[in-house]
Amino acid sequence: MDTTVTHNHEASHHDLAHPVPKRVLIGVWAALVVLTIITVLVAGKDFGRFNIWVALGIATLKASLVALYFMHLRYDSPFNAMILIVALSFVALFIIGTITDTAQYQETMETPANWNVAQ
């Protein structure tokens, strides 16, 4: 099937299909299951502040596998991948901006003067 797509340009216009090979599907599935097990096991260990980043790193790896192979982004037009990346970038911007903002005034929020009096 790969050969059809790459070598026979004329045929490729009618041939929409690009079936993902069986071993790729199984391999990705196995990797996802193994990574799920790893993330559960690792959650029990204490890396201090890094626990959340380890968990998010594994989740991002799993999500990349799903997007690249199950969602065909690896074989698709790069434009589709760009749309996803742009959306994720805006989410990142959104979260980073909000966290930065809330971190700025959290100090003052935690010790409001009138609340100390009240307590």
């Binding site: 490729s12 216009h13 192979y69 749309i83």
Partner: protein
Amino acid sequence: MTETADTTHVDRAREAAAAVGDAHGHDPHLAHHFATPRQQFESGKLGMWIFLATEVLMFGGLFCAYAVYRSNHPEIFQYAHQFLDTTLGAVNTVILICSSLTMAWAVRAVQLNQHRTVVWCLVLTLLGAFGFLGIKYVEYKHKWEDGLLWARQYRPEHVHDAKPADASSEASPAQADAATPAPQAEAAPAPADPDAPRIKPAPVGPRGLSAAMLGEPTHMGGDHGPEPKNVGIFFSVYFLMTGLHGIHVLVGMGLIGWILRRAVNREFSSRYFAPVDLVGLYWHLVDLIWIFLFPLLYLID
């Protein structure tokens, strides 16, 4: 899309002419406003990806709320996540991964004209969705019974008696110091109105953020340690995120059921499989979001 770009103008015109000329049953799925099946397929896929981008942005709002609350009050997440069953969450993760595999396999099979395999893969995918929601039901039911609900509906069974005391401790600062308007404003909506938390976020918000530092720990017994204030907000985040995700699973089940029916009728082939492919993309996105929800909600330590 790159391949389309490579095509010379003549090629495309010839292809379009062929598509129109062979209209007698040759390509009944090609809409008039598309030149070629490939153009139609890629346009549909592009549209689906743009829709998925909006889905990512919608969940992004919830992830942002999660990030703000957890960065400000990690102690609430440390405390509250112990009420979530990691095993059930992990099993659900694996179920979704398996149903993603069968969905991807269905897309592969339809591209190879393996009609029976498509039907079986879609049936298995649907079963996975039922399994996921079944486990989600068990989890929700358990939390409902234990009073582990959102915002002010958070009334854990163990400390049911402590709730009035909690309410009075919120009111007492107002009595002690009449010059503080905030606690009074806080005390006013205190009679549990399910709408109140959503209607009045602005006055409650700042106080809510600061309250955990002031809250005297109430012991719930067991090994859960002292209970911080405003644990209900963890469950607000939990129910919003998993609830919105659950609604997506429901929608996905409807869509899979729809393409399953069409697959049983042999409506798809290697020349026309866009609905299977696009529903597949949707289903994978639902899986992808859960991949992030699982560690963020269940694996906090």
